[in-house]
Every structure is written in structure tokens, then in C-alpha cells.
């Protein structure tokens, strides 16, 4: 009870620091010094330094997300805590992928180290030992003996047979997301429909974008596409996905979607447009959950989704300024996010 009140208060306080779409768009037209000043004023001092310091911007964004997640996780207990911790661990799964890619490309330890995310107190992998493995096979075996065994085991088998890095990546991502769905399912009964809706929009979006990309960009056959999608119980269920993967083109897929998605995506003519619309709709919904009296876990999750989106928007602005890109190009990059 006390923990819920604390979490609610914390989320409300954190929510004041979120960047609205208009604020981000306004930053595009400001000078780098003004952007830096605005970031400082909002307490984002580590990002205000932009590209002038050694540590990568991505690393600083993730460090900030981890720092805030740590505060939000603190009052949670049991399966709710496990859910949020699992959500945070996707950064560590990306470390797993970075390690595997480095081993495949023969990168040395010195090149690899800066690319790995420092998970701080959330770290469960012994990165030092993993970076010292001889080859990808020994790395995978070491990973299988660690906390991500469940995720890595099947990916290793698939990779050993195919030697295809795409399969490795896709299998790892799918295994992680199916784990997330399992964790969410355990708490969706508690925090009510709000968390279910957030998860639904997240997983449905990923499934639909992957389906379109694999089917029409990579031209994979329907059975393979279906196999690569995340097994979930949300709006795009197994039966519907099986039907969608057999359809001949993007328009047919969009027309066969449930009404809520069909209306949202009407007229979208490529995968990029579909992605943008789904992401924007998910953000609008997350903001609604954040403003509502939804259970604290759902609000915390909505906040984390929005915070990450906002910080990535800031990164787009900072990177655009750093590379000297024209304002309209930075605006378009933001448009993808907002």
C-alpha cells in the first residue's frame, strides 16, 4: 500500500520531466548552446555535454534510464518487480548481441569494451569473462551457463545449424520478448487492463512491423515469418497472424487487421509509415495511462516507455546538430519518433 503510494508519487514527479513533442520540435530550431542550456535546466546535465565528452550519448541515455528505473523498481515486490526488472534487462540482452557480433567479426576486447552497456546494479553477466572467450561457440556456451540461458540456448542451436547472424538476432529478440510476455501475463491480472493495453500495443506493434518487414522487405516465406513472430495473446493473436503472413501485399495485410489498427493504418504505404503511426499511437496511449489513475505499475511502465522515447528524441536532435544536418532533416527524424 505504502509502496504503491510511493511509486505513484515518484512516477508523477518523474512525469514532469518528460519532453512533449512540441518541446522537442522547438529544440530543432535552437542553437546547440541553447539546447544544452535547456537540457541543463531540465536536470539532464549528462546529456547537455552532447558529443563533447568521451562517453557515448547512447551510454548516457541508458545510464539515465537505468538510474530512474532503479528508483521505480525499489518499492515493487514479487512478480511486479520481476516484470519491470525483466523490461530493464533488455539492455543486457543487447550486450549479449553485441558480444556475439563482436566474436563473429573478430573484434578485440579493447574495441568491444566501449560498446557494452554498463548495467550497474542490474548487471547479471560477467562481461570480463565473456569478452575473453576465444570464439562464438565458446561464448555461446558461456552464455548458456549464465542467467540468459533460456534466451541463448535455442538461438545457439539455430545458429550452429545455419551460421546465419540474422537468425541469431531474430531468435534472441523473439525469445526475450516471449519472456517479457510471460512476465507481463503474471501481473496483468493485478494492475488491470492498463498494463495489458500497454503490452498489447508494444507486442502487436513489434509483431506487425516484423511481419511486414520479413514478408515484404526480406521476402521470407510465410511459415518462416510466422515462426519468427512473438507468440502472444494480445489483439494480433496466433490465428490472425497465421492468416496475415499468407496475404500477398502490405495493403491486404493492413485491410485484414482488427478495426482499431486498420483505421489507424489506413493509407500507410510502406513499413516506415506503419512503424511511425503505431509508435505515435502507442505514445499517445502511454501518456493517457500516465495521466490516469491506473495502477502504479502500469503508470511506471508507461513512464519508462515515454522517457525512453523522449531521450531518443533528444539524441536525434543532439546528433543532428552535431553532424550539422539541416533542421528539416532533424525534424523528419523526430517525426519518426513523434
Amino acid at each position: 500500500m505504502l509502496g504503491d503510494a510511493y511509486l505513484d508519487t515518484r512516477v508523477s514527479l518523474f512525469a514532469q520531466g518528460l519532453w512533449s513533442d512540441d518541446e522537442l520540435t522547438a529544440l530543432v530550431h535552437r542553437s546547440p548552446a541553447e539546447v544544452s542550456q535547456a537540457l541543463n535546466a531540465r536536470g539532464l546535465t549528462e546529456l547537455a555535454a552532447g558529443y563533447s565528452i568521451h562517453s557515448s550519448l547512447e551510454a548516457r541515455i541508458i545510464a539515465r534510464l537505468l538510474q530512474e528505473s532503479r528508483i521505480l523498481v525499489r518499492p515493487l515486490q514479487g512478480e511486479e518487480r520481476q516484470f519491470l526488472l525483466y523490461w530493464i534487462r533488455r539492455f543486457e540482452v543487447s550486450n549479449v548481441k553485441t558480444l556475439i557480433r563482436a566474436r563473429l567479426s573478430g573484434e578485440c576486447q579493447a574495441e568491444l569494451a566501449p560498446k557494452l552497456i554498463d548495467m550497474g546494479p542490474f548487471a547479471r553477466l560477467d562481461l570480463t569473462a565473456l569478452t575473453q572467450t576465444e570464439d562464438v561457440r565458446s561464448l555461446m556456451r558461456a552464455l548458456e551457463a549464465g542467467p540468459y540461458a533460456e534466451i541463448v540456448r535455442h538461438a545457439r542451436r539455430a545458429f550452429e545449424d545455419s551460421q546465419d547472424p540474422f537468425i541469431l538476432d531474430a531468435t534472441l529478440d523473439r525469445a526475450y520478448l516471449e519472456g517479457l510476455v510471460r512476465h507481463a501475463r503474471a501481473v496483468e491480472g493485478g494492475p488491470g487492463a492498463a498494463l495489458h493495453d500497454l503490452m498489447s500495443r508494444l507486442i502487436d506493434r513489434i509483431n506487425l512491423v516484423w511481419l511486414l518487414r520479413y514478408r515484404f522487405n526480406y521476402d521470407l516465406p510465410p511459415p518462416r515469418v510466422y515462426y519468427l513472430l512473438v507468440g502472444a495473446h494480445y489483439q494480433l493473436g496466433a490465428d490472425l497472424l497465421r492468416r496475415l503472413v499468407t496475404l500477398p501485399d502490405l495493403a491486404a495485410v493492413l485491410a485484414a487487421l482488427p478495426t482499431v489498427y486498420a483505421r489507424l493504418l489506413a493509407g500507410a504505404d510502406d513499413v516506415f509509415a506503419v512503424t511511425c503511426r503505431l509508435e505515435n499511437a502507442a505514445a499517445v496511449h502511454a501518456r493517457r495511462v500516465l495521466r490516469s489513475d491506473a495502477p502504479p505499475l502500469a503508470r511506471a511502465f508507461a513512464y519508462l516507455l515515454l522517457r525512453e522515447r523522449g531521450l531518443r528524441g533528444l539524441r536525434a536532435v543532439l546528433r543532428g546538430h552535431h553532424l550539422g544536418l539541416p533542421e528539416d532533416l532533424i525534424g523528419r527524424a523526430l517525426g519518426h519518433l513523434h
Binding site: G17, G43, T133, E134, H154, S162, P223, R224, Y226, Y227
Partner: protein
């Protein structure tokens, strides 16, 4: 004893060619903790490639030693680096005069280890392959046994057919349903017929023209074809014979693999030990390179921290090895780097057993008050006060004196608590709960519980007041004058606490809560709130909210912490009550039953109540004490050492 040892920041300039030997000297000296330093003119790290090669070579060596079964061959004990077996000087002496390998030598060693690993890895891979094959053979045997029970002709099932393509194989059970659904999209069926651990055995059938299209899908799902050799597609007896034959073949190959492993151990053993010794000699520079090595092509600079009292010895060690070809610059820590200065504690031998209990909470920051002495004194005193009994105390003393093995470190703490319990036993006049055997030096807790509770409260208030002073002292040491004055746990908090307590005391005496008390409390509270709002970096609303919440939390906490000390009196009363209960139970029985109940009851009191009191004392120290003044976020002093950097928390008083 009450603070961390004073440190000096040391910069050592040496010729680049002597960097590895210098690191060896620093490691043999054992009091130099490398640390990065932004003031050194060269930003590059000339030892980074040395470190990379060393890391890879060490990792490779460990794998080889593990494969050859020589894991212990390289190292006898932690502080004694691996070295070839030879008579003569000690490892430490030998390392002082030995030459550390140069980068070229290290690369050559790494290359040689690569060759050895190549030789070993062929056998290693073969070993893994055979293990997998053995496992599969066992599964195949089970599967074949089940296949024979199916009402299916396997030979006909697998016969090449123009229309139908049938495969037998295994797939992770977790993927079964999804694969089944995906295959259905390609007009195929999947029928599982067996399961072994996490794998399911299944039959996949579909139209031959579409069969090629599902190959990628099956690969992706981790499908493994189940080879059903021609021999197995014959008479069951012949199939059985084939399986036996396979088993013999795999065992023969595994035997050859083991022999090869032993040969590798024999062939490379001595050189591997030599390699382990060379890598130990290279370890200091490799480890220092991670933090405190800078330089150019000609000069290498080591930066780090040395206890002030060990500085001269360090210079003498460098002189003995480098004969003037070095330069040492030492300085006091700057104010802005105090949070990075490592903490090293100097405790007398008798105090060291208490160090792990304090360390369990945290390590003092550099310059922070070291609470070990306070902890030891207060903990033992509280234990005695809560568990005062000459007989039970003596039992604890004797039990603790007998602790050996893993619990040996608790011996001194236990004996001290036992002694305190005995001392308070005399104060309370209690021996195994009997209050009529000894005259009490003061009185039994049960004779005046109210006075005991009052005393506990007063002691608690004194303790809390002391924590305020310690908090202010720590903040002043860190140069944070405002924090020392205005934080809730600092002097302003003490003024508030003292004003309210004194006011309440006056109220109790019927004199009323005076205006001075109210003014002192309000002023202090205002100062705390304003200070918190000023120092918290956030939006205005969050600042105000945080300041209000944290101020009220600090106020509530001070009084809650004080009330917590009531447990000191409560447990001393509890001890008497428990003893009464044991006597009452035993009194109801006669003869052996009475004796048995008395012995069991006292044993329970010593073990259970003793354990609970020990935990309660710890809780009082941590939550009512440390949490109020002790940061505990210090940086460990981790000097370069032969045999690897180890945490050095305490040193003996010289």
C-alpha cells in the same frame, strides 16, 4: 584508529623499458594502489596493449590448464604466484629480483599458448563432440525402443517417395506448437511421438515438391534430423547390434581423447607452469594499466595512492631496483578528489574481528569517521545490557572460545559479548536466572522496569545525539560546512532534537513546553527544510515536496530511533521472564524431567535468545546508528600485489 590512514598521491616516472619491472617492484611493495590521474601530461596508456595481450594469454592459459587438468598446478596459494618448482628464495624474494616479461616476450608467450590451445582444442572439440554423440546415442536407443513399439514400419515410412517427404527428428519442446502451426502454413504436419528432457521427437511429413521450402524454417526452429541408419531399418536384433557397435566405437574414441589429454598434460605441463610464472610477473603492469599508467614512447608514469607511512619504503624499493632511474612526486590529496581517495584502516589486532561487521554495512570514505571502535564498544555493551547473566554469559563465552573453522572469525566477538553478559550479570545479580545466588551490584531489571526503560531511553537519546555530532564531523571533513550545519542529521537536527526532548522533559515535570524550546525547534526545522529545498536539484514543485517529505521523515526518524532503544530494557526484562518460564515449567516436573527441562530451557535461552539479542544489537547499530552518520561508500584500497590485486581493508598497527 578513528579515521582512515592518511594517503599520499604518488606519481612515479620511469623509463618505458623498465615499466614492467617497476610494476613488479610496486606489487612486491604491496602498498601502491594504482589510480587514474587527469593531471599527468600524457593522456595515452602505453601499457594498454601489454594488458590486452596479458588478458588474452591468461585466459588462454587458464583454458589450457583446465583442459589438461592442471588448474592447481599453476598456483599454490593466493599470495604466492605460480612458479616453477625450484629450491631457493621465497616467491616474494624471487619476484623482487626477477625480470618481468617485455611486450615482445609476452606476445611470444601468447602465440605459443595459442599453438598449445590449437593442439588441445582439436582434442577438446572432439571431446565435446563425443559427449554430444554419446548423449544422442542414449536418446537414440530410447527412441528406437519406442519406435519399435509404434505400429509403424519405419523402413516404409522413410522410403523415398515421389509424393511424400517424411523426416524424423528432434526439436526443442518449447518450439513445438509454434513450429506445428508454421508448418501447417506450408502444408506439412508435425506429429510428436516422444520426449526426452527439453527435446521432443517428431515426425514431419508433407508434399515432396514443397519440402525444400521448410528446410530454413526447420533450421531456425533448431530441428535436428534423427539419423535412422540403414542398419536400424532392418531387423530389431541387427539394429540393437548396431547400437552396441556404435557405443563401443564412441567409447574407444573417448578413451583416445582422454589419453591425448594426458599426453598434453605431460608434454606441456612444465612449460605451462613456467608460462604461469611469467604471466604472474607480468600481472602487476597489466593490472596497473587498467587504471594508473600513462606515458609516452620513452617514459612511463604510474599514478596511484600510497599510505603516507609507506612512502619512504616505496622510494627505497624503487631505488634498490632502479638505482636512480626514476622520479617520484608525492602530494597530499586535493579537496576535489577526496571522494576517490581509497580508504585503508589501521586497527589493533583485538579490534579486527569487528571489522567485517562494520564492513558488512559499508567502507568508510576517506577522512570519514571510522565507526569500528564505536561499534565494538556499543555492540558489546548493548549485548551485555540486554542479556545480563553470569551463567548464560559464561556459556556464551565458552561456546565462542570453541569456535573453529569458518566461524573462527566470530570467536573474539562472541567472547567479548559473553564477557559483557557476565559483567552485567553481576550488575543485575543473575546467575542462570537465579537472582538469589549473588548480591546485585545494582538491581535486577524486573525490580524496577520503569527505571530501566527510562535509562534505556536516556542512553538512546545520548546515542542519537552523538550520531548528529558524528554526521556533522564527517560533513566538515568533506568540506561541506552547510551540510554539517543544516542537514537533518547534522547540527540543526541536533538543535531540533535537543529542543524538543528538553521541552518534553519540561512538560513531564509540569513546567510546560517553553518558548525557547519552541523557538529552537522551529528555527532548526526551518533551516533544515530550506537547506534541503536549496540543495535538491529538480523542478520547484519536486524540490518543495522532497524538502517537506524528507524533513518530516528526518524528524520522525530521530524520535523513532530513540524509542528503538527501549528494546534494550525490553530484552533485559525478557531474559528474566524467559528464565522464570523455564523454572515454572521445570518446577511442574519431578526428577529427571525437571533436570532435562532446566538444561534444555537454558540451552534454548543461550542459543535462541542470545541469537536474537545479537541480531537486535546489530540492528540498533546499523539502523539507529550507522544510517544516521555513516556514509560507508568508501573506495577500497586495492594495492598491486604479487598474485593479484586484493582488497586491503585493514592493516595492523605498526
Amino acid at each position: 584508529m578513528l579515521r582512515t590512514l592518511p594517503m599520499r598521491h604518488v606519481t612515479v616516472y620511469v623509463l618505458a623499458s623498465e615499466a614492467a619491472d617497476t610494476a613488479l617492484v610496486l606489487a612486491a611493495h604491496g602498498q601502491f594502489a594504482p589510480a587514474a590521474d587527469g593531471e599527468v601530461p600524457w593522456g595515452g596508456n602505453p601499457a594498454e596493449s601489454y594488458r590486452q595481450v596479458w588478458l588474452q594469454a591468461t585466459s588462454r592459459l587458464q583454458r589450457i590448464l583446465q583442459w589438461c587438468g592442471l588448474e592447481d598446478g599453476g598456483r599454490q596459494q593466493t599470495d604466492s604466484p605460480a612458479r616453477p618448482q625450484r629450491s631457493g628464495p621465497s616467491p616474494l624474494e624471487e619476484a623482487r629480483v626477477a625480470a618481468a616479461p617485455t611486450l615482445a616476450e609476452l606476445e611470444a608467450l601468447h602465440a605459443w599458448l595459442g599453438e598449445v590451445w590449437q593442439a588441445c582444442s582439436r582434442c577438446h572439440d572432439e571431446h565435446l563432440r563425443l559427449e554430444a554423440e554419446q548423449k544422442r546415442l542414449v536418446e537414440l536407443e530410447q527412441t528406437y525402443a519406442r519406435l519399435t513399439h509404434l505400429d509403424l514400419d519405419v523402413t516404409r515410412l522413410l522410403r523415398a517417395d515421389a509424393l511424400l517427404k517424411v523426416r524424423l527428428g528432434q526439436v526443442p519442446s518449447a518450439h513445438l506448437k509454434r513450429l506445428q502451426e508454421a508448418l501447417a502454413l506450408a502444408g506439412h504436419v508435425l506429429i510428436p511421438f516422444d520426449q526426452a528432457q527439453e527435446m521432443s521427437f517428431a515426425l514431419v511429413a508433407g508434399p515432396r515438391p514443397a519440402a525444400a521450402g521448410v528446410d530454413d524454417l526447420l533450421t531456425q526452429a533448431g530441428w535436428r534430423e534423427l539419423p535412422v541408419p540403414q542398419e536400424l531399418q532392418t531387423h530389431p536384433a541387427a539394429a540393437r547390434a548396431h547400437l552396441e557397435q556404435e557405443k563401443t566405437r564412441i567409447e574407444a574414441l573417448a578413451g583416445a581423447c582422454r589419453q591425448s589429454q594426458a599426453e598434453h598434460a605431460a608434454r606441456y605441463g612444465a612449460r605451462l607452469q613456467e608460462a604461469a610464472w611469467r604471466l604472474e610477473l607480468a600481472r602487476p603492469l597489466a593490472e596497473a594499466a587498467a587504471l594508473g599508467v600513462h606515458g609516452s614512447r620513452q617514459i612511463t608514469v604510474f599514478t596511484g595512492w600510497v599510505p603516507r607511512r609507506a612512502q619512504n619504503a616505496l622510494v627505497a624499493a624503487l631505488e634498490a631496483r632502479l638505482h636512480g632511474r626514476y622520479r617520484v612526486i608525492a602530494r597530499e590529496p586535493h579537496a576535489d578528489e577526496l571522494d576517490r581517495v581509497p580508504s585503508l584502516l589501521a586497527h589493533p589486532r583485538w579490534l579486527r574481528p569487528f571489522t567485517p561487521l562494520v564492513r558488512n554495512y559499508g567502507l568508510p570514505c576517506y577522512g570519514e569517521f571510522d565507526p569500528t571502535l564505536l561499534f565494538a564498544f556499543s555492540y558489546v555493551l548493548l549485548f551485555g545490557a540486554m542479556f545480563g547473566d553470569v551463567g548464560h554469559g559464561a556459556a556464551i563465552f565458552l561456546l565462542a572460545a570453541g569456535l573453529r573453522g569458518r566461524l573462527a572469525w566470530l570467536r573474539t566477538v562472541g567472547m567479548a559479548c559473553g564477557a559483557a553478559s557476565i559483567a552485567f550479570g553481576f550488575v543485575y545479580g543473575s546467575v542462570f536466572g537465579h537472582e538469589d545466588l549473588l548480591p546485585a551490584l545494582w538491581r535486577s531489571p524486573m525490580h524496577d522496569p520503569q527505571q530501566l526503560l527510562t535509562l534505556a531511553m536516556v542512553a538512546g537519546a545520548g546515542f542519537i545525539a552523538a550520531t548528529h555530532l558524528l554526521h556533522a564531523y564527517n560533513r566538515l571533513n568533506q568540506g561541506q560546512v552547510a551540510a554539517a550545519l543544516f542537514e537533518g542529521a547534522g547540527l540543526a537536527g541536533l538543535v531540533f532534537y535537543a529542543s524538543v526532548l528538553d521541552g518534553l522533559h519540561a512538560l513531564y515535570l509540569g513546567q510546560g513546553f517553553g518558548p525557547y524550546h519552541a523557538a529552537g525547534a522551529c528555527l532548526a526545522l526551518g533551516a533544515i527544510t530550506v537547506h534541503r529545498a536549496r540543495t535538491h536539484r529538480a523542478t520547484a514543485v519536486e524540490r518543495i515536496l522532497v524538502a517537506l517529505i524528507e524533513t518530516s521523515e528526518a524528524v520522525i526518524r530521530s524520535f523513532a530511533n530513540t524509542l528503538s532503544f527501549l528494546r534494550v530494557a525490553a530484552f533485559s526484562l525478557n531474559h528474566v521472564a524467559l528464565s522464570f518460564a523455564v523454572f515454572a515449567l521445570a518446577g511442574g516436573l519431578g526428577g529427571v524431567g525437571r533436570e532435562f527441562t532446566l538444561i534444555l530451557g537454558h540451552a534454548l535461552i543461550v542459543v535462541l535468545e542470545g541469537g536474537i539479542v545479537a541480531i537486535q544489537c546489530m540492528r540498533l547499530m546499523y539502523y539507529e546508528g550507522f544510517a544516521r552518520f555513516y556514509n560507508g561508500g568508501g573506495v577500497e584500497f586495492r594495492p598491486l600485489r604479487l598474485g593479484g590485486r586484493e582488497t586491503s581493508l585493514t592493516v595492523g598497527v605498526v
